[in-house]
């Protein structure tokens, strides 16, 4: 008897939820401007799930719970990542304006961006920036990790202070360093700020990036180094290995997987660098002659170029096509990196 009552109740709630959903959707499709339709839709979904949850079935209860548990995250994920990704790839082949599109233009956006010297320049400096950072950040971070694990007194303080810049958002960091370059270091660089000339400004971005990121990568190297078993180092010492030999023949091979993680992290994050670039130079800087034209976006890296194309210049379809290319480059480069590192790890 009780279970019949429960069944009726749960079906009642389920139906109420569905009724609310239908009512809300009907209002949407008929173009009603009633402000109740949004809340009705949300409440309808919740009521529907409550009814589903209360449904008295021993056989399917587990499945219902699984569905309810998966739904919230999967739903937000599909709406914010999967749908925009699919739409974005489609939009890159149209004359999309950010709101609507009128016709499919094929590969026109892709052809247009390769004819644009300023975009080629952005790709070029992004690659240089990424390569420089992969080497320099890892080198600096590894040296700092060696320093911190070599019996440095007060190691905790040093670790924390080296890591500190990583806590601060790129926008604020960028403005702080703009001040440092323009008002403090300019006396060292002949009263001309490093941010004025294109090539020194690029170097300035590298400096800020190392400052921000090396402390974080250092922490990962420290973890790797402290995981090397003590008896291995002891054995090397007894065999008469010098510290340099121990470093190159014992320590570095033993933390090969840490190197893989760190190069991957620096590669992907340097590639996506946006905030510091925007706050420090906003991409400005003149290039007198590149592919026969004068450029004003000397320090504009790919991510910022995409943003400016779409938001500042209002060319959404072109910006989206650049973003798709950016995605492809990033995916290919990271796959190659992982493959090379894995092979190296096996060799070692």
């Amino acid at each position: 008897m009780e279970s019949v009552g429960k069944k009726v109740l749960s079906i009642g709630i389920l139906l109420a939820g569905i009724a609310m959903l239908i009512a809300a959707l009907a209002m949407d499709f008929t173009g009603s401007e009633s402000t109740a339709r949004g809340p009705l839709l949300v409440i309808g979904i919740i009521v529907f799930f409550v009814g589903l949850y209360l449904f008295p079935t021993l056989k399917h209860h587990r499945k219902i719970v699984y569905f309810i548990f998966l739904f919230p995250l999967l739903f937000t994920f599909v709406v914010t990542v999967i749908i925009p990704l699919v739409l974005g790839i489609c939009y890159s082949f149209t004359d999309w304006t950010g709101i609507k599109f009128t016709q499919v233009v094929g590969f026109q956006n892709y052809i247009a961006m390769f004819k644009d010297p300023s975009f080629i320049w952005s790709i070029l400096i992004t690659f240089i920036f990424v390569a420089l950072n992969m080497v320099l950040v890892n080198l600096v971070a590894f040296l700092l990790a060696l320093l911190c694990t070599s019996g440095l007194k007060g190691g905790g303080f040093f670790r924390a202070s080296y890591f500190l810049p990583n806590l601060i958002g790129g926008i604020v960091l960028g403005y702080i360093w703009q001040f440092v370059f323009n008002n403090v270091l300019n006396s060292l660089t002949g009263n001309v700020s490093m941010l004025v000339k294109t090539h020194t400004a690029l170097f300035a971005i590298v400096i800020v990036y190392i400052w921000q990121y090396a402390g974080y990568i250092m922490l990962i190297y420290i973890t790797g180094l402290t995981q090397i078993p003590g008896d291995v180092l002891e054995a090397a010492k007894i065999d008469g290995a010098t510290p340099i030999q121990t470093l190159f023949q014992v320590k570095i091979p033993m933390i090969a997987s840490t190197f893989t993680i760190c190069t991957f992290l620096t590669l992907t994050s340097a590639f996506k660098q946006f905030d510091v670039n925007m706050a420090l130079t906003n991409g400005t800087g003149s290039v007198p002659d590149f592919m026969g034209s004068y450029l004003t976006n000397g320090t504009q890296m790919l991510a910022l170029n995409i943003y400016n194309t779409a938001i500042s210049k209002n060319s959404y379809a072109l910006g989206q096509a650049k973003a798709v290319l950016f995605f492809i480059i990033l995916a290919v480069v990271s796959l190659i990196q992982v493959r090379i590192s894995n092979r190296k790890e096996v060799e070692l």
Binding site: D28, E33, T35, G38, H61, V65, Y66, F69, P72, L73, L74, T76, F77, V79, T80, V81, I82, I83, P84, L85, G88, Y91, G98, I99, L144, L147, C148, S150, G151, L152, K153, F158, A160, S161, Y162, L164, L167, G169, G170, I171, V172, I176, W177, V180, N183, V184, Y216, L219, I220, T223, I261, L265, K272, F274, G319, A323, V324, F326, F327, L330
Partner: protein, 295 residues
């Protein structure tokens, strides 16, 4: 004996050398922070004159600067701080809860095809850069908002929704990795005792996840609190709702070269994060390491 003393001496020299280098690097790393704090105590004229010296610093000037920044209508510090805090906290709670729920379902069904497929999609999606989805995301959210009659842009619920979507993959990945290591016997015992599946999850599994949920919350929190691009696109530069990074950008944009105000604003913007770091230094650093090693 003699050799031993020499080794001891060498070690001492090395220790001193290491300390000197360590302090040198620390001074370099902390120098910009020192400049921010120092110059927040100064008026514009003495900053321009000499940004490194103590000349011209006074508490009165700090109060003046703070007052000017906090009451500034472009910055609106307390409002921006509150907005950032609300968005970050709600997103973190929802991500931890929904993430754990989804991760549990995925890892308890890992032999089934649908579960493996969802997991693969989550992992693959981690390489997708924000740039490739950001433009269609805005138009999708605008359309959805118009359709359901609840604005998804320029609203806190909309941005929390987006953070749940973007943070979901990494959260599930780390949590599912941990749940796989939790013995299944625990759940079977609970279910023999008559515990429902959802009861098992909330009473047995969820409490066990505390350490890994801390890790996930730190990783997501650092990213969401500092994020600029997503809120600037969704909320707009001149919209009503602003997060702290967006407010800093809007403020600096309107006060070019007013370093007394800009640096005071920077100080206010970095202070909350530094205070949290001082309190939970160990957890934050180990959380960041774990996130990197597992991701």
């Amino acid at each position: 004996m003699g050799e031993g003393r020499q080794v001891g001496k060498e070690a001492k020299v090395r220790a001193v050398l290491c300390t000197v280098i360590g302090i040198g690097v620390a001074a370099y790393v902390l120098f910009p922070f020192y400049l921010v704090v120092l110059n927040a105590f100064k008026a514009q004229s003495s900053i321009v004159e000499n940004p490194i010296s103590f000349a011209g610093t006074s508490f009165k000037q700090l109060i003046t600067n703070l007052n000017a920044v906090i009451t500034n209508s472009n910055f609106n510090f307390w409002y921006a701080f509150g907005t950032s805090a609300v968005i970050t906290v709600i997103s973190l709670v929802l991500l931890a809860l929904f993430g754990a729920m989804a991760a549990w379902v995925i890892s308890r069904n890992n032999r089934k095809k649908w579960s493996a497929a969802i997991y693969m999609v989550f992992i693959a999606s981690m390489i997708i850069p924000f740039q490739v989805v950001m433009l269609p995301l805005i138009s999708t959210f605008r359309d959805v908002g118009k359709f359901i009659g609840i604005s998804m842009l320029q609203s806190i619920p909309g941005i929390v929704f987006a953070y749940c979507g973007f943070g979901g993959a990494m959260t599930v990945f780390i949590l599912a990795g941990f749940i796989k290591g939790v013995p299944y016997d625990l759940e079977e015992a609970a279910s023999i005792d008559g515990c429902s599946p959802e009861g098992t999850f909330f009473r047995v599994i969820f409490p066990l996840l505390t350490p890994v949920i801390t890790t996930v919350t730190i990783l997501n929190g650092m990213w969401i609190w500092n994020d600029y691009l997503l809120p600037s696109l969704m909320l707009g530069q001149n919209g009503k709702v602003k997060t702290l990074p967006v407010a800093v950008q809007a403020f600096v944009g309107s006060y070019v070269k007013q370093w007394d105000l800009i640096l005071t604003a920077a100080l206010l913007a970095i202070l909350p994060m530094i205070i949290i770091f001082l309190i939970a230094q160990k957890q934050i650093m180990s959380g960041m390491i774990e996130g990197a090693v597992k991701g």
